[in-house]
Symmetry: C2
Subunit: 214 residues, 2 copies
C-alpha cells in the first residue's frame, strides 16, 4: 500500500464507498466500473478513480473493480479487518440504544463492558452484559484491552469522563455528548454532533420557504 | 440579507459558529474579534470574516463582533428563530434517547408526537407524550403541523416509513437508520451515519499503529 498523506476529504468518502460496496455484495454484484459507482453515488467517475488511487491500484482497465476485492481493500484501509474492543460509558437510553446497534458489532466493534454511576442502572443487564459501576472502569479497560469508548453520558459529565478514559490508555472516543472535549494526548475523538444535523435541516427548510415566498 | 448561493462548506461550518457563540454567551462574553474566534475554533481569521460576509456585514472594523447579535443573526440564517413541530417514528431505545435530548428542544425543535407499531411500546409514556400507533400517523401530522420527523426505526422498516412521512407532507427527515433513503419529492433528508464516524476512528487508530510500527 502506498504511504502518503491521504486528503481528509478522501478519507471522509471512504465509509460511503464501503457502505455502497457492501450493498453491491448483498445484491450479488461481482464487478463494477467507476462509471457505475459514479452513477449510483453521484461523484464523478474520475474522482472515484482518483480517490481509490490514493491507496493503490485496485481497478483494471476495461474490467473495472472486483467488488469483493475492493470492499476487502477499503475495509483494510479503514482498519476494520480486525476486531476492536469497545466499552460504553453511560448506560441510559442512548447508551442502551448504541449497545443494541448491531451494525457496529458486525463491523468488528465488540462491546465488552458498559458503565454507569447511577445506582438504578448499575447491575442492570443490557444484552449479555451487566452494567458496571465506574469504580471498576480502569480495571475493566485493562482486562478487556478496551481501545474505543462510546461516550454516552450527559453533557455535564462528559469532559471528566473523557479525561478518565484518556488516562486509562484508551485510543479513541466516539462522543455522543453535545460538547467539545479537550484532550491532553493524541487520543482520537470523533464527535457525533446531532445538533449540527438538525440545524442543517432547519437551514434548508428556511431557504426553501424563502424561495417559495420570493 | 444578501441573496446568493452560499457554499455548502460555509453552511456546514455555521452550526459550529452557533455552538461556539452560545458558549461565549454562557461565559458572558460581549464582543469578540475574528482573530479570537480563529484562535478558539482553528479556522483562519480571514476565513471566518469571509464565511460571515456571505450573509451580510455583521462585524465592525476595530470592534469585532457583538456576540449576542452575531448569535441571533446566525440563528436566523440557520432558520432557528422559530419553533419546529417534530414527530419521532420508532420509540425504541434510540427514539426514547432522542426524545430526552433536551438540546433539540431548547433550540426550538418541539416533539409533539411519538409513534411505533410494536404493541409492547404503543401506549407507553415518554415524557409527557404517549406513544401512538402508526395507524394515527397521518392524522396526527395534520393535527400538530409536523414539519420534521426523526426516523428511529430499524434499517428494514426505514424506507417504507420514510415514504409514508413524505406522503404526509412532512418537509424534513433526520434519519438515524443506517440506510440510504430514496425519496420522490424534495423532502430534505439528513443522515446521521454513526457508522461513518466509527470507521473514521478505526482509520485513525490504524494509521497511528502503522506509524508506530514503521
Amino acid at each position: 500500500m502506498k504511504k502518503k498523506n491521504v486528503p481528509k476529504a478522501v478519507i471522509k468518502r471512504l465509509p460511503k464507498y464501503h457502505r455502497f460496496l457492501k450493498e453491491q455484495i448483498n445484491q450479488d454484484v461481482v464487478r463494477i466500473s467507476s462509471r457505475q459507482i459514479s452513477q449510483a453515488m453521484g461523484f464523478t467517475a474520475s474522482q472515484i478513480r482518483q480517490d481509490l488511487n490514493n491507496f493503490g491500484d485496485f481497478g483494471q482497465q476495461g474490467y473495472g473493480y472486483n467488488v469483493e476485492d475492493l470492499y476487502a481493500n477499503i475495509s483494510k484501509i479503514l482498519g476494520i479487518n480486525k476486531t476492536y474492543s469497545v466499552a460504553i460509558v453511560g448506560a441510559g437510553n442512548l447508551g442502551t440504544a448504541i449497545s443494541n446497534y448491531t451494525q457496529f458489532d458486525r463491523l468488528g466493534f465488540k462491546i465488552n463492558a458498559i458503565f454507569d454511576v447511577n445506582p438504578c442502572i448499575v447491575g442492570k443487564s443490557i444484552g449479555l452484559l451487566e452494567v458496571q459501576h465506574m469504580d471498576k472502569f480502569e480495571e475493566e479497560v485493562e482486562k478487556h484491552g478496551i481501545e474505543i469508548v462510546y461516550l454516552c453520558t450527559n453533557m455535564e459529565a462528559a469532559q471528566a469522563v473523557a479525561e478518565r478514559v484518556e488516562n486509562a490508555g484508551v485510543k479513541g472516543i466516539l462522543n455522543f455528548a453535545p460538547t467539545d472535549l479537550v484532550m491532553k494526548t493524541d487520543i482520537y475523538v470523533e464527535n457525533t454532533y446531532l445538533i449540527d444535523k438538525l440545524l442543517s435541516i432547519s437551514y434548508h427548510l428556511k431557504v426553501r420557504s424563502t424561495e417559495n415566498d420570493g
